[in-house]
């Protein structure tokens, strides 16, 4: 599982991660889904249970792949940066990139592949524009290292952090159409839709976007 800026917050009743539940809400029942960087298959399992999807996954770690196999999930050991090119166009209804884009070498190329392989793409990522990150950088003059963001700059797998505004700009550049955009607060709850972008960018822990080819 790709490291997250925000500690995943779970639903107290079901134990499911709130961001996963939000993603699940965006997926039409019975659709074909590819989860890129699917970790131990928690999101795919949730999608299978709740949305009856035909789910597939790609995961870098062998531990993750084995955990998925044990759940009966068809998951391929592979790398988002190199292996997406091999998938045909329109192979899936949704391609999901959950908390992974910041760990890819070429986020733009990966995003373009998502939009090519899937009729829709769902991307969630930690927001590097969050005020605590800004405070760390502005006042301490250091790259933020917190409980929620434990890596030092030199050993982090998160090599391409972006803010919500940065991501919106990338979507515009690759011609992606935003069908839904949600920012999650520190508690993992969606923030008010009526709030302006700059507030989301300041207070949002995570951004979750439902995209379509433009």
């Amino acid at each position: 599982m790709a490291p997250s800026l925000a500690v995943p917050t779970t639903d107290t009743l079901t134990g499911h991660r709130l961001d996963f539940l939000l993603v699940a809400d965006m997926v039409e029942p019975g659709s074909r889904v590819l989860d890129v960087g699917c970790g131990d298959g928690a999101l795919l399992s949730l999608l299978r249970e709740r949305r009856n999807v035909d789910g597939r996954g790609i995961e870098l770690s062998r531990e993750g792949v084995n955990a998925c196999l044990a759940k009966g999930l068809p998951v391929i050991q592979g790398d988002a940066d190199t292996d997406l090119a091999d998938y045909p166009d329109d192979a899936f209804d949704y391609v999901i990139l959950s908390q992974t884009i910041q760990a890819t070498r070429q986020p733009r190329v990966v995003l373009e592949h998502l939009l090519r392989i899937g009729r829709r793409a769902i991307v969630s990522f930690p927001n590097f524009g969050h005020w605590r990150v800004r405070v760390d950088l502005a006042l301490r003059g250091r790259m933020p290292v917190t409980e929620n963001l434990p890596y030092s700059w030199y050993d982090t797998p998160n090599i391409h952090f972006c803010t919500i505004r940065d991501f919106v700009e990338l979507c515009r550049e690759v011609g992606a159409q935003m069908e839904k955009a949600v920012a999650l607060n520190a508690g993992g709850k969606p923030m008010q839709v009526s709030l302006p972008w700059w507030v989301w960018n300041l207070l949002g822990y995570q951004g979750v976007f439902l995209l379509k080819r433009g």
Partner: protein, 412 residues
């Protein structure tokens, strides 16, 4: 070729040279192997003159027989059958002691009670391939038309012929669908062929260290092996069984060369390095000074006692001819189009004979065909042979895949 030195290495030379004329004599082991060709120490299904095996070479082979072993019990639904496909020099004795060598079955780590392919749970079938020499009809079998071994009169076999023969066996056993087909190397080729030829009969498929086509490099290695066999004067144009000789030297050299391709450089170095065999300095001869030489000679000797040279030619040829995409207008994805089979593909990092790229090509084709596929690349420095060895990561992946598929299939 190899000159016997005055110092006897641990594993001296090929065969047992006759004291007087240096010719080879047959050990009791190889006589035992010979008798297996027609009368195997296993179950055997016989097909009569009216039930020919239609072969890719255009020959209707009849009568013919297929030797097999089973383990476990077929359930009432007949839904728990697992077919194990063996590799180039394997046989049907996957989980019992081999009747020729007395050694444990070749995949005891994978198949047996409590193993990933749990014989307490599944009905496991393993059959000797067509063209083999352990009781399924092959070049060492007696041609009923002549009363003599087929030798080179036997039609060239293909992987698809092997699978057709297995399907005929399953028909006879009353097994319509296989819960799972599993195999490594050439066994993996058969798994892929099963999934392509009989998609409705395969619920789950597990090809390990396999490829959808044999590479030019692999054909090249096989050709060297075959030429070694055929260069042995005792091969006698394939008629050695009739003439009472054995191309043991040629077959042993073929095995030595092939054996190197099953290992990795790092595994060879770790196991043998440049260590001397029972000596502390070079002998300035062509004796087996190095442990690796002695080891390879041993591999060669032990192989010729259990395996038929012509069978080696035929089965290597079958692998060479294998190209699943070619059967489907050059598109591997087309071979799996519409397949409802669940696939799990496994490769090994240090396998340079069937490298991970070969497995990835299978995975890509399955993806393009929208088939259900999982893929694991196991970290191992043991080369191609890793699939036969104790590889916990492979067992974990196989277990997870098989158990999950069994739940879906409703197998207790």
């Amino acid at each position: 070729m190899f000159v016997d030195g005055s110092i006897r290495p641990k594993y001296p030379l090929f065969g047992k040279p006759n004291e007087t004329d240096g010719s080879m004599t047959l050990s009791s082991l190889s006589l035992e192997a010979r008798s297996q060709a027609d009368d195997p120490s296993s179950l055997v299904m016989r097909f009569g003159a009216d039930e020919p095996l239609m072969m890719d070479a255009g020959i209707a082979l009849a009568p013919w027989q297929i030797a097999y072993q089973t383990y476990g019990t077929l359930n009432a639904d007949r839904s728990n059958a697992v077919l194990i496909c063996h590799a180039l020099t394997g046989d049907q004795h996957v989980a019992n002691d081999n009747p020729v060598t007395g050694k444990p079955g070749w995949w005891r780590t994978m198949v047996g009670p409590g193993r990933p392919v749990d014989t307490n749970r599944f009905f496991v079938i393993c059959a000797n391939v067509i063209g083999g020499c352990m009781g399924t009809t092959g070049p060492a079998s007696t041609d009923p038309a002549t009363g003599q071994p087929y030798a080179l009169n036997f039609p060239v076999v293909t992987i698809r012929d092997m699978v057709r023969a297995q399907a005929a066996l399953l028909d006879r056993l009353g097994i319509e669908t296989l819960f799972c087909v599993i195999g490594g190397s050439m066994g993996g080729m058969q798994v892929l062929q099963w999934a392509a030829s009989y998609p409705d009969r395969v619920f789950a498929a597990l090809p390990i260290a396999a490829a959808a086509r044999h590479s030019a490099q692999n054909i090249a290695f096989h050709e060297v092996g075959r030429q070694a066999v055929m260069a042995d004067p005792d091969w006698r144009g394939g008629r050695y069984l009739l003439e009472g000789t054995r191309p043991s030297k040629g077959l042993a050299v073929a095995r030595m060369g092939a054996h190197i391709t099953y290992l990795s450089e790092i595994a060879l170095h770790r196991k043998f390095g440049r260590n001397f065999q029972d000596r502390s300095a070079p002998t300035f001869s062509f004796d087996a000074d190095f442990q690796i030489e002695s080891y390879l000679r041993y591999q060669g000797i032990s192989f010729v006692e259990r395996f038929d040279a012509n069978s080696y030619l035929y089965v290597t040829r079958a692998m060479d001819y294998f190209d699943l995409a070619a059967e489907h207008d050059g598109s591997l994805a087309r071979a799996f189009k519409g397949s409802a089979t669940r696939f799990c593909v496994i490769s090994f990092t240090s396998d340079w004979l069937f490298p991970t790229s070969d497995s990835r090509a299978i995975v890509h084709a399955l993806n393009a065909a929208a088939a259900s596929v999982a893929f694991v690349e196991v970290e191992s420095d043991k080369g191609h042979d890793a699939f036969l060895l104790d590889e916990p990561e492979m067992f974990a992946a196989a277990c997870g895949f098989i158990d999950a598929a069994a739940r879906v299939r409703g197998i207790a």
